[in-house]
Subunit: 400 residues, 2 copies
């Protein structure tokens, strides 16, 4: 089981060859491999890449597949947060059902790893976590899901949330989340001290949403870095969005990125079209580990987004003014191996001994594959075919 010979694929657009999987891991890559009892698939010359990596999303938010939601609000972050918290129950937003819909579409579009934040607030307690853990368990073997305990309604501004985060981390969450320690939580020192205390207590990494722009964001980022250094947590702290690294003062940004790189802070970007985002090229040039993600898709916050990392790569690429093939290849790397690395998933490459998580993509070259909006011909997770032609494949049967 989980033995598979895929013939005639082009690993990372190299010359066509075969790829043999044994016990869910890549056992051989080369010409004329023999199946030795493994099932055989024909890739028909398609390019193979490591599975796509959705490094920042919210599986507990989408209304995909539900009646059209017409109640979206404008205004500041607090409006959007409050609207969602108040609407979840009246809308009948069942987290298990909705996160299944969301995650399965990510599988169908070739995603092998997901990092998903889950809202933890004093209205809902751990109920959203439970729905998402059910989804993680149901999809085990089809996709790996990291869960971030995320204080979406605030930590310091909502007493009782700390204890809930603590319980979340004791009950299956993988990462400690956070939200705008200054602009939203109104007490950056206490907020960050609490976040880092949870990380140290549970021995888990951190991933903080930082929408704060300009110098305010830079100030908070500095406080995050001070604590990363003090606690010796290099490589274990991530910052999502990091809009402040998109501010105009290029000298200031360069200095911040230098420190981010030195402390091995991971950056997760969604390439938000309406915000000032960090330059992917500048982060990568400085050696920062970067992941990209779709963020929420079609939820109470906003109508946009597709459950497809290739769609998101396109948004990030356009935002970063990428044109050249080498830039598109770097973008694709960030949406797969690079994002996995940033999330702490090691060895997510097409190499001997690596987990056999790979996706066939349409296109003549890697750059072409990024822009070509075509269904993924085949998605393989741990050596098993989990989707064909953009449709989930369960126990060998393709869904209609």
């Amino acid at each position: 089981m989980s033995n598979l010979l895929i013939k005639n694929l082009r690993p990372m657009a190299a010359a066509a060859c075969d790829l043999l999987i044994r016990d869910g891991r890549i056992a051989a890559i080369g010409a004329g491999l023999e199946p030795g009892g493994a099932a055989v698939e024909d890739a028909k010359g398609a390019i193979a890449i490591p599975g796509l990596v959705e490094a920042h999303t919210h599986l507990d938010k989408t209304v995909w597949g539900m009646p059209w939601y017409a109640g979206r609000k404008g205004g500041v972050l607090q409006n959007l947060v409050d609207n969602e918290r108040n609407e979840r129950v009246p809308l009948g937003l069942d987290v298990h059902r909705q996160s299944m819909r969301h995650a399965i579409q990510l599988i169908e579009t070739g995603t092998s790893h997901i990092r998903s934040h889950v809202d933890i607030d004093t209205d809902h307690g751990l109920t959203l976590l439970e729905g998402k853990i059910r989804t993680r368990d149901a999809l085990a073997g089809l996709v790996d899901i990291q869960i971030v305990a995320f204080p979406q309604s605030g930590l310091m501004v909502r007493p009782g949330t700390y204890e809930l985060l603590d319980a979340t981390l004791a009950n299956g969450a993988d990462v400690v989340g956070g939200l705008d320690p200054s602009s939203f939580d109104r007490d950056p020192k206490a907020s960050l001290d609490a976040t880092f205390a949870l990380a140290v207590k549970h021995g888990k990494p951190i991933d903080i949403h930082l929408h704060e722009p300009g110098e305010l964001g830079a100030f908070t980022l500095e406080m995050i870095m001070e604590r990363t250094r003090a606690h010796g947590l290099s490589g274990l702290v991530g910052v999502s969005h990091a809009f402040c690294l998109g501010m105009p003062d290029q000298a200031r940004v360069a200095h911040l990125i230098e420190q981010v790189a030195a402390l091995d802070i991971r950056i997760f970007s969604t390439g938000a079209p309406s915000a000032s985002c960090p330059s992917l090229q500048a982060l990568r040039a400085a050696g920062v580990k970067v992941g990209i993600g779709c963020d929420g898709i079609r939820d109470t916050w906003g109508p946009w987004g597709q459950p497809d990392m290739m769609d998101r790569a396109r948004i990030v690429g356009m935002k970063n003014k990428m044109r050249r093939d080498d830039e598109l290849e770097m973008l694709l790397h960030t949406a797969s191996s690079g994002g996995a690395d940033a999330m702490g998933v090691v060895g997510h490459v097409l190499g001997i001994g690596a987990a056999a998580d790979l996706t066939l993509v349409a296109g003549e070259t890697l750059a072409h594959a990024v822009v070509e909006q075509a269904a993924r011909p085949m998605v393989v997770k741990a050596g098993r075919v989990v989707a064909r032609g953009g449709k989930l494949c369960v126990d060998g049967v393709v869904m209609p």
Copy 2:
């Protein structure tokens, strides 16, 4: 001929009814209409909107359907312009073939009107124009194409271009184009005087590419407005991109937009993800007529873009931080009736007597239709079904 009864459609998401077309025009909208000899189609309750309007593109540039083009360059505008001008012949970029591919996909995605710039330069003379006129003629009755005579390599900086533009306007172009009179053409006074002289001579409207950012763009925009006023050309001058109207100084921008509105200058925006674009909401609130467009798609400049105005609406909507249903409805209006109005196409609405150019879209509401990435069920041009399910329909036969 061109008589058609479409049953069970929802005009602008209103209650389901029938729509009768006589001689290519909408003759009646109501319940239980009788065909009276017209062919009958069933819209199955789909929403109908006026045909989508591609208000800014370059049909002569795409390499869609050709082998992957790996030679894209980075750097300044001049690099991109020179690379394209030098690559056209070696690449075998046949303007007729490529503009057919591009325009037909726009038809398939529900577009009834296109404004397309055509490169006029001293290397190619009028050859690109000829290819595009051939396409315009071949697609007559399927889509309306306005051609803008566009000095892509510059006007003042390339002597001989003025004469070519003059000949282009005498030989089938509909609109006088221009390109960055200050930053690219290096002589805003002479460049704009020449552009306006051509408009006056040929009695044709103007559409100037203005990428110039910040105060430089504002200065050039002022010069455009001075000439619009002096020549009495209100309503006949358009500015494409107008990145300067996205600059941070909100008071300055508000004052410029006020003048743009007073002179009825039309703005054509592509919502460029990597640039500072004018706020669609601010322009519309001031009463400015706005069109949106995909710009070039997959050409020697860049790999991005889809030949689909719904895809572009999504890019423009995300860029403008649109979330609410009323904002999405305004966005859709800009991508159809509003854009037509900005291009000088009058009466592009679902009303009695209007040309029967309409598109069925998937979705429960207009807002839903904007974000739902689904094939258009049916596209009707002048009362004739020209596409079904996203595929061109020629003489009643759907293309495979």
